[in-house]
């Protein structure tokens, strides 16, 4: 996968920035950009946040994923608590590597 200069990568590690995340994604789309997001560790709790569905509905399946191991470590049952995330969106840390390889710009929340 080559670099896409119009794609913004966001690595979400903390559970406290959902409001900013939603606004950043909206702003990126307004500018005609794409986003690719990976949630890990405590940020996987955001899956059950009401605003998470805005992201899930807006972002293509292949550009949004959570770390399924972290999700399970945090006490969730991936099969029942996935809030509509597909099997392709339940990933490993390798997704973070793919994201880094693919995006033109990157930051961490």
């Amino acid at each position: 996968m080559s670099k896409d200069p119009d794609k913004l990568g966001i690595f979400v590690t903390s559970p406290i920035h959902i409001n900013e995340l939603v606004k950043i994604v909206e702003a990126a789309y307004r500018k005609g950009k794409k986003v690719k997001i990976f949630f890990t560790f405590k940020s996987t709790h955001l899956v059950v946040h009401p605003d998470f569905q805005k992201l899930r509905n807006r972002i293509p399946e292949e550009d949004l994923a959570i770390c399924v191991a972290a999700f399970a470590c945090e006490g969730y049952e991936p099969e029942y608590h996935n809030m509509g995330l597909t099997e392709k969106q339940m990933r490993t840390q390798a997704f973070h590597g793919e994201l880094i390889e693919e995006v033109g710009k990157y930051f961490v929340l």
Partner: protein, 118 residues
Amino acid sequence: MSYKVCFLIANRSFISDGMRSALGLAVENMYSYTYIFYQKMPGKSEYLEENLAWIRDMEGEFYAVTETMDEETKNFNLQEWELAEATLDDVVEKILECDFIVGYGLPAQKVQAPPQCA
């Protein structure tokens, strides 16, 4: 391309998973360097020790930024865990050398972790 990625972890709760994330990039053929600030490493476990060994096998490293640590924390991190030692100047140098910087997790807490955290 083999990117260089620098993980900066200042919050105790995020060390174990930060290590896992750093390893995730190392196995994707990236150079993965992690710096721990202020905090004592978690208790040793076979899983975490294997992760650290694997990171090192992949030419990454895990550092304790010792000038941010009290003596007990520094000794635990260097002697028990055998982390590499780094200064703040080393961190700055590595940040300038790296392609991606990951401030992993929440900032350091001002409060001491209460016993309930155990």
